[in-house]
Symmetry: D2
Subunit: 215 residues, 4 copies
């Protein structure tokens, strides 16, 4: 149980996790398999978890908080603002974050026009992690870009805040088929999951002062 | 007029250009403004041009040539195979190719399972260029990735095969508002447009032999 | 004055800043000009600052802590371990972190074989920022990569932990000649400098527990 | 034997290959092992090969063709201009091209100030390939960046102009120890080596016209 929950002074930490697979939720997903490992760490530490399966979530292309029409992003936007921990999970396609992941991050881009109640960017005092899976190569550049984008929106990146798996050069296997018991992944998930909780607790108890970082 | 057309021995060169703007075709588009400059070069050299406005084109997320349902990619796939020149135009969002661009490239990924009539990857003897526009920063990493992805599918990248515009750090202006008469863009467009035509002509007359590059 | 210094309970925060310019220290340096702005914030907040001008510092190529011979990295390594705040400053060349910057980060790579006194990677409870200058384009991908590399070694990345300047597409000017009073840079430096101090203070008072992040 | 050599009308094609390992030439090198595979293809096709072991070559940091003092780059610069094929080989460190590779590319940057005898950038009608080796991840972003940089200097990138090897996520093995007989590498090397020769022959017989690409 987290210190914060233990003290009974504050509510449980909340995590929002985006599964940005290109495939609908009903199909098996390596990205989800990686997120599930992180969720297990979160739940052991009494963090409540919400998964958004982005491709099924009626998210429109665009860079505004509300694109109108059938766009369901506004409700997701609100959940992001309530979360303490944000995790973005994506497959790699052609060496890049996938299109659904980029679509989600484009929608987050609108946060640059908002502030929290002390005038900082809205992701201040939230932490971010990246989960990346692919057949071969590209995990680090993808994780790096995701973390960086959310840092620009105000999130803090704790140490080792990534979990990834890729096969060797030319690999064709999927994480869900061959990587689930990988020892390296186990270590990455432990570091990432625990550090996200550690840092979310630290920041809840010690928010970043609104000094020098409000416009 | 291109040498090939002049000789009357072969048909006109064909270019397919993807506008991967997040916005529907009816809205004004910096990406289209850049593509239009390239098209002007192509038309002066008697290349026939076809623009796909991707976000309006009923392209489904996925990595197969035909995702079924309402997916209109299969017809676009056929146009790609008939083209001599492929140009991908994208805005930059959060430092990256936009989601619609990545969606298009994910669909192209299926070409790895196809060959041309001598057994090479299907983009052999085609050439590729990238057009990138943004408010600030990121043009080169975006252009680089696009060109590289299509090279992996068999395309050749001629020298200086990119046209981009971005403002300075922190810039908020759009290319269509402030960049249209930029001298650097003029140079980039000339180099890119002409080299794409030069190399397409060279490769049509001298296709890459199917030696050492078929599996 | 920082809270920690004010309380008199702990020593002043220490920052180590790497100037990775390709040019020797005697020449004027846009990278140094950017670092100087960050140093001004640090000094206002009573952080002691040490600058390493890397190209003049007898650092050998390699990935071990001590490459032997004339290698002076071992002393720098010790200063890194004593610092609370690490800032890497680099020019952009050909769209990339420069060679001297990469040389420095290759030497830091050896930290993966070390731990702090509770068994975590040695940069745990330290914070990292990136300063990047260039004529045109590339700042964000460079900053992103630097921050990510140090996060892998255990550093925490506070929000907005970057200060960069680049001119518009095709720009040929240097930051030191035209960017010194840029308003966007002023904002970036304030956010970065202050958040590095905020987070270093927070982590000194609340170190990341050695739970789930030791091997 | 290449068509050009066979015809006896022109001299043999020339390749220059950079081994950008951090280690001196006397130590065993995965990068060299990959280059050797490419050289084997070149020699089968009667291309003459010259390897520059960059870290041993007295190359100074800088972005001018001649940095003075003990700088030996000017002679290498001349060899680059005489070559038809340029191959850059680099290990991956921290997910990036290594420092020695970036140092080499920074020196090539000065070519932007030169032209060939028809006024084009000096790498026009030359072709470029990338060889990349690492323990895990990062090969494609590294290859992509190298190819792109040389394209900006005027080189043409043939299809599949890369050969790389990396282990799976978290891998610690070296190519030279475990990858030498890898089937995927064999295919990459064949495609890259042969396409570089094909395209160099095509461009020697059909140089890119100086139309629209001179300033």
């Amino acid at each position: 149980m987290s210190r914060i929950a233990r003290d009974g002074l504050m509510s449980k930490l909340k995590a929002i996790l985006f599964n940005c697979s290109l495939k609908p939720k009903r199909e098996k997903s390596s990205t989800q398999a990686m997120l599930d490992k992180v969720i297990r760490v979160f739940e052991q530490r009494d963090v409540s978890c919400k998964v958004i399966h982005a491709v099924d979530a009626s998210i429109e292309f665009g860079v505004k908080t509300d694109m109108g029409g059938k766009d369901k992003w506004p409700a997701i936007h609100d959940q992001v603002l309530k979360a303490d921990i944000i995790v973005i999970g994506t497959p790699i396609w052609m060496g890049q974050r996938c299109s659904v992941c980029q679509m989600v991050i484009e929608r987050l881009d609108a946060l640059l026009n908002e502030t929290n109640d002390v005038g900082q960017l809205p992701l201040y005092n939230k932490v971010v992690g990246a989960c990346v899976v692919g057949n071969e190569d590209g995990a680090q550049i993808v994780a790096s870009g995701i973390l960086y984008n959310l840092m620009q929106l105000g999130a803090t990146i704790p140490p080792n805040s990534e979990a990834y798996w890729v096969g060797m050069a030319g690999g064709k296997d999927d994480f869900i088929d061959v990587g689930l018991s990988d020892e390296y992944v186990k270590e990455l998930v432990s570091y990432m999951g625990n550090n996200l909780v550690h840092m979310a607790e630290i920041l809840r108890a010690n928010p970043i002062p609104a000094v020098g970082n409000v416009s």
